[in-house]
Symmetry: C2
Subunit: 429 residues, 2 copies
């Protein structure tokens, strides 16, 4: 066994970074045995050097990340800063200085994954990022390596713990969105500004990364259709229950039936209670992967948090260090299929539409005609009247999203339709 | 990209082998892109050369596996023969002739994994075996690589599809064991001789392999405590239901609380209906992994079948071929902790015991005293009398298996105990 240690620079020392540093210290012997050489924390770049960091030698702390990377003796860089800059520049600097990179940065990878992969390859180095998607759940590696001999046709998952916590609360207690969000914030599941989670930006970044791996094609954040879950109401949950469903914020990646294009989207959807994703509670994540030969696989676990994310980072660290010792690299970006990403309008799924309508004869006929004119076939209709007003709940068969949008635009123009209360896709059947 | 193909020898061409050959042909371009070089099926060793094998060039078929391996140009050997011999000798011959090996052979790996790993390492070659455990479910690689920076404390899973199908039928229809087995046989889920499945040998082999990976220690098949599920009755399921439980055949691997030893066992057990493993239906497999930092992860999917197993084999093939091209090897055996495997008596869990007793005063006191004398604390007792006979159902708190065995031996000697109808462990709480 080699005795000269591999030197690791840690960029960022927040919830995840401090846990990575802690485990590197407490489990140093295990890591040495698994890598085949000791690993040494050679420096920790932080923004606030004065903060007390238990268990980390103060001499390792620096505010000059660039100088740390340019020392010339760093073998591996762990980037847990998050966000686009300075993370992007620092990762590039790491590659230029001969260090492989382990990153947990979903936003950056979704936006600039291709360029970062190219930089890694140019320098013969690794870029690993298991922690960027679904926290501790091994997902990137199984999809990239275990299923490398298979063909993935569909990925559907709950990849954001905050929104799953909120939706689970709404489902189990009947609470409205704001009340459930307040509870999530109080318990630390939601950030003070929850926009990235509740508007689906976080899930969309993960969807872009997973789509790239699943389909061996380049999918950027902008290619992912995104709808948040702030409009989901207690009455939507009541409707879902009547259908034997619950509501989840899902990331859905699909290969088109002809295999010539893919779609990537994030939005709230009704799924049957019998679907395994329906029973994913609290802040847990779970991802279904459907592959041609393997069939239906599911991966489940904690999707966030310091320790789980650190577990994923350290798994990557072991692999990257082993590659360094073997003077090899792991699988890089695989984008050989170059499939186009279709717009949301081409997605084919089912819909649950609630309409507020005038309570008079002929309304249903008018509404049904509008659906038919746009080629959207109706599965069931439920009509409920009260005081001259009525609500009409329509569930459709599978239809292209563009056809449904056209239907809804036309419905809004009908005199008898007072308003479209909600539109939700129905998945998982 | 390299244009000279990597040459693959396929040993065995049954349900899995023929599917591997088919996918290698139909998805040749994808495999080439993912590996970085073409792969060519250079020979297929079979027992019955006269059998028609659609899609395989008859010129590739041979009955002389040894000669195929000794040709000198084989890069990778895929072994899907199963069983100990001739698989063991052939794998050894493959290593001696410079070929890496992908195997789906759980029996051989559980019995001789250490020697095979040593042979691979001696020749600087790979031994991969994702398909040996839980079919298509990526499990070996996530445990060996994704969790390489974490500490796995517990693995609990359904790793045999046949027995899960039988138990699921018993649970959902109220059928007895024999009736459910007959249905499984008729549907092709059980083999004509179901011993390896129903007596837990198959699950025990997988348990040995998983324990080795989870605990970085060598666990042989003989180290795994094994109890089959042929004694599980419809009345056990009725008892389980009264407790809000179902019954599953589980493989359970645990690190002792002091971290100084491990246990490995396969037996039927009651688990609460709320436990995620309780909802694993039909022939599906699922494995829970509890790691120190990652928390609780679950992996779910089809545990057997030609296509799913082929998917796992081909994922390994891609990795092994990539390693060959990079002149590197993947992670080998990791057995550095060398923890002792404790006997079943040291396992600590809960128990559900059904006794047939005389229906007279003082019986419960006598039974309770016997439990107390052996240090086994009772959680609940349910007593039910009929015609001078009565049944007593005792559920205990956690106690060592040896203490429970001692209790049961003593109970059998009581005059008032007519018989011990069933003993079942209670897990997953």
């Amino acid at each position: 066994m080699r005795t000269r240690p591999l030197k690791v620079a840690l960029l960022g020392c927040g919830v995840v970074g401090s846990e990575v540093a802690r485990i590197m210290t407490t489990h140093a012997d295990d890591l040495t045995a698994r890598i085949g050489a000791p690993v040494e924390l050679a420096g920790v770049a932080v923004r606030r050097p004065s903060k007390v960091r238990a268990g980390i030698d103060p001499a390792l702390i620096t505010t000059d990340a660039t100088a740390l990377l340019k020392r010339g003796d760093i073998d591996v860089v762990i980037e847990v800063i998050g966000g686009i800059e300075p993370a992007r520049t620092l990762i590039t600097t790491a590659f230029e200085n001969g260090a492989s990179v382990v990153s947990a940065n979903k936003a950056l990878l979704a936006q600039d994954g291709a360029a970062l992969h190219a930089a890694a390859e140019q320098h013969g180095l690794d870029l690993y990022y298991e922690a960027a998607v679904a926290g501790a759940i091994p997902l990137v590696r199984p999809m990239r390596e275990s299923l490398a001999g298979d063909k993935i046709n569909r990925v559907m998952g709950i990849v954001n713990g905050t929104t799953n916590f909120i939706l689970d609360k709404m489902d189990s207690t009947g609470a409205g969105y704001q009340e459930a969000l307040d509870e999530a914030t109080a318990l630390g599941y939601a950030e003070a500004d929850p926009t990235a989670d509740v508007e689906g930006y976080d899930a969309a970044a993960k969807a872009a990364i997973l789509a790239g791996i699943a389909f061996h094609t380049r999918v950027r954040l902008d290619d992912v259709y995104r709808e948040g879950m702030t409009e989901v109401s207690a009455s939507d949950f009541a409707s879902a229950k009547r259908m034997g469903c619950t509501i989840k914020l899902l990331a859905i990646l699909e290969r088109a039936a002809d295999g010539e294009s893919v779609t990537a989207r994030v939005h709230p959807a009704m799924i049957p209670l019998t679907h395994p994703l329906a029973s994913v509670r609290e802040a847990y994540n779970a991802v279904f992967v459907e592959a041609e030969a393997a069939g239906r696989l599911m991966f489940y676990g904690p999707g966030a948090g310091g320790s789980p994310t650190a577990s994923a980072v350290l798994g990557d660290l072991v692999a990257v260090c082993r590659n360094k010792l073997a003077e090899a690299t792991g699988p890089g970006e695989s984008a050989y299929t170059q499939l186009p990403v279709s717009a949301m309008g081409e997605v084919v799924t089912r819909y649950h539409i609630s309409l507020d309508v005038a309570d008079k004869p002929g309304v249903l006929a008018q509404v049904a005609t509008t659906f038919a004119e746009h080629g959207v076939s109706i599965d069931t209709v439920r009509q409920q009247g009260k005081d001259g007003e009525a609500s009409l709940v329509v569930v459709t068969h599978r239809a292209p999203d563009a056809a449904l949008s056209g239907t809804v635009d036309a419905l809004r123009k009908l005199d008898t339709v007072r308003g479209v209360a909600s539109i939700m896709r129905v998945e998982g059947e």
